[in-house]
């Protein structure tokens, strides 16, 4: 009876998974096994592996995703930490989350306005006498905007894990002789690792397949796997190759998920 009830409630979940997770992935895999003329082949994979352009692109994607995640983390951890010590921390958190409700494209266009030759930033630079600079279409602007957009997704899990720390653990650490810095290193950081890991997943994985920002802000100077997929599907119409890169991306995501999975340190006791 209990089991039946449980499996009944599982139906919507399983249907969702089947329709929107398994089926698309199976389709992508299927597509990747056909060449542009519709013949079954593994050539997409072999050409991917043999092409330095694709490999470089893959490396680029991973490298930029890493940079974006790194800068996001660098800003988000201290921010989450400080937020947590504020009186109305929930309110402040909400203010940081707020921009995520605005459409991504709108925010991106806003940055074009800010960073362009006649944008506010250059206006300011000219005003202080620093002259005008090419900001748009640089690596800097690409990483800056991508990090800006991803930051809330990093702050939120870190904030939550900080919020969950029992304050008496901090007292206990001080009580046992740890300075504020030692307490941070030995207690706070390890206890917020789960939050950092989920933040890493939430930022790194989407960053792998960024394509709009690469074009609008990065000016297509940075070609990532996301851009390549878009190109193949919309421009060259080589769906097979586009799907192959998609498969590579999916594999990369699983690898990241595996590396950042929740682990119990040692002793083998499960939670």
């Amino acid at each position: 009876m209990e089991m039946q009830k449980k499996s009944f409630f599982m139906v919507p979940y399983l249907a969702w998974i089947a329709l929107f997770v398994v089926a698309p992935m199976a389709l992508i895999l299927y597509q990747s096994l056909f060449d542009i003329t519709g013949h079954f082949t593994f050539s997409n994979y072999t050409s991917y592996l043999e092409s330095t352009t694709y490999l470089k692109m893959t490396f680029n994607s991973i490298w930029y995703a890493f940079l974006i995640t790194f800068f996001t983390l660098l800003i988000s951890y201290p921010t989450a930490y400080l937020l947590n010590r504020l009186k109305n921390k929930r309110l402040w958190l909400l203010l940081i989350i707020l921009p995520t409700w605005i459409n991504l494209l709108l925010k991106t266009y806003a940055f074009i306005g800010l960073f362009s030759q006649n944008g506010s930033v250059n206006d300011f630079l000219r005003f202080v006498g620093a002259g005008s600079h090419q900001i748009l279409f640089t690596d800097f602007s690409f990483i800056f905007v991508a990090s800006y957009i991803e930051i809330p997704f990093m702050i939120l899990p870190i904030f939550n894990s900080l919020d969950e720390i029992n304050p008496s653990l901090i007292n206990a650490s001080r009580d046992l002789g740890a300075s504020a810095w030692q307490t941070f290193k030995r207690v706070i950081v390890p206890l917020t690792m789960p939050g950092v890991k989920s933040g890493f997943q939430a930022v790194f994985i989407p960053s792998l397949s960024l394509f709009m920002i690469t074009r609008l802000i990065g000016g297509n100077r940075v070609i990532t796997l996301g851009t390549a997929i878009e190109e193949h599907f919309l421009v060259t119409q080589n769906w097979g190759m586009g799907s192959t890169i998609g498969v590579i991306l999916i594999i990369a995501m699983f690898v990241v998920m595996f590396l950042t999975r929740e682990r119990k340190s040692k002793g083998g006791q499960s939670r």
């Binding site: 030692q182 207690v187 040692k266 002793g267 006791q269």
Partner: protein, 361 residues
């Protein structure tokens, strides 16, 4: 008193203008078991947190071995705390938890290992080194928290209601163990509880607190036998408290009669309160009793009966008796002069002690 290890001098504490501690003064002697006893909100935890260094006094000084310590940060005080929720680090296993303070002291690996093993032996959990904290029972967590604290060899150990989360049986066992541990280690224990039975069983010295003040301090026997006021008498054990007047030294008037007693030093005809513990009252036939009560209820409690009744003035009396009686019957009560304890209204601890000294011995 020998050199006190901790002294509170005129300590007050306010949270946003709400006074929580009001001019607290006390001295703690090295090597004894102290208990702060008081109802919820009386300020016990606040005192403990000040000794540990998590809270600053609003005014006053705290001395440790004669030197001011209230400006020293918590991590520099030779004092460790056992937290009510144990506060074991969930990301570390048992031995890493115990080694936490030792590693900070840069102790060598082999020394740490030996110390961890020794501490675990003290709390009878040898062999638990590699257990995860999640995989411990409440009682085991309690012991690990104790092991973690004593591994640092503190001079003073603070315990904030450490047994309150345990079931009755385990609680009794841990009481015995704590007391034994304190005597074996010779560390000063400052223990917080609102359980008077626990305080009486464990302590060398008890501080009874209420509303941010220490009302009375003394040995368990002193406090039980000679409570300073109504609050203490009521809080420490069951008691019968009735109003009366002091006819003369060693003679007190209540229930329309004069009774011989052992208290003195009051003004003639001063209004007072009389305390008689239920176990000091015996039941006899109405005509043989020093006073008479009508029995209202009777409760069998295993070792004895708890009998309640009322006297002619409708004051309630509780009697613990091994003899059975009948509800509704009129019975006599007998007691000895030394069973009567007299409390004056509004007497503070200093005058109370001085008065006792003036006629005792």
């Amino acid at each position: 008193m020998a050199n006190p290890i901790i002294e509170f001098k005129n300590i007050s504490k306010k949270y946003d203008d709400t006074p929580v501690l009001k001019k607290i003064d006390f001295e703690i002697e090295s090597g004894k078991f102290y208990t702060l006893l008081g109802p919820s909100g009386s300020g016990k935890t606040t005192i403990l947190r000040m000794i540990a260094g998590f809270e600053d006094p609003t005014s006053g000084e705290i001395l440790f071995e004669g030197k001011r310590i209230d400006l020293t940060p918590a991590n520099k005080r030779p004092i460790n705390t056992i937290f009510q929720d144990y506060a074991l680090f969930p990301h570390l296993n048992v031995s890493q938890n115990i080694a936490f303070g030792l590693e900070l002291k840069k102790m060598s690996k082999t020394d740490i290992q030996a110390k961890v093993a020794e501490s675990l032996r003290m709390v009878q959990l040898s062999g638990y080194e590699n257990r995860e904290i999640d995989a411990l029972s409440g009682g085991q967590k309690q012991r690990i928290a104790i092991a973690r604290a004593i591994a640092n060899e503190p001079k003073v150990l603070l315990l904030d209601e450490p047994l309150s989360a345990l079931d009755h049986k385990l609680r009794k066992e841990m009481q015995v163990e704590l007391r034994a541990l304190q005597q074996r280690l010779g560390i000063t224990f400052i223990f917080v509880t609102h359980d008077q039975e626990e305080a009486l069983a464990l302590s060398d010295q008890i501080f009874v607190m209420n509303d941010g003040r220490i009302l009375q301090s003394g040995t368990p026997v002193d406090i039980y036998d000679e409570p300073i006021n109504h609050f203490v008498a009521d809080f420490i054990g069951e008691s019968n408290i009735v109003p009366g007047t002091m006819t003369a030294d060693y003679l007190v008037h209540f229930d329309h009669k004069d009774f011989e007693c052992v208290d003195a030093g009051m003004r003639p005809n001063e209004p007072v309160e009389i305390v008689i513990r239920p176990e000091d009252l015996d039941i006899t036939s109405a005509d043989k009793g020093k006073m008479q009560v009508t029995v209202d209820s009777q409760l069998f409690r295993g070792v004895d009966y708890q009998i309640t009744g009322h006297d002619a003035d409708d004051h309630e009396w509780t009697i613990n008796s091994i003899h059975q009686t009948t509800v509704g019957a009129q019975v006599g009560l007998v007691f000895d002069p030394e069973d009567i304890h007299i409390m004056r209204f509004g007497e503070d601890e200093e005058t109370f002690d001085a008065r006792l000294d003036s006629y005792e011995e």
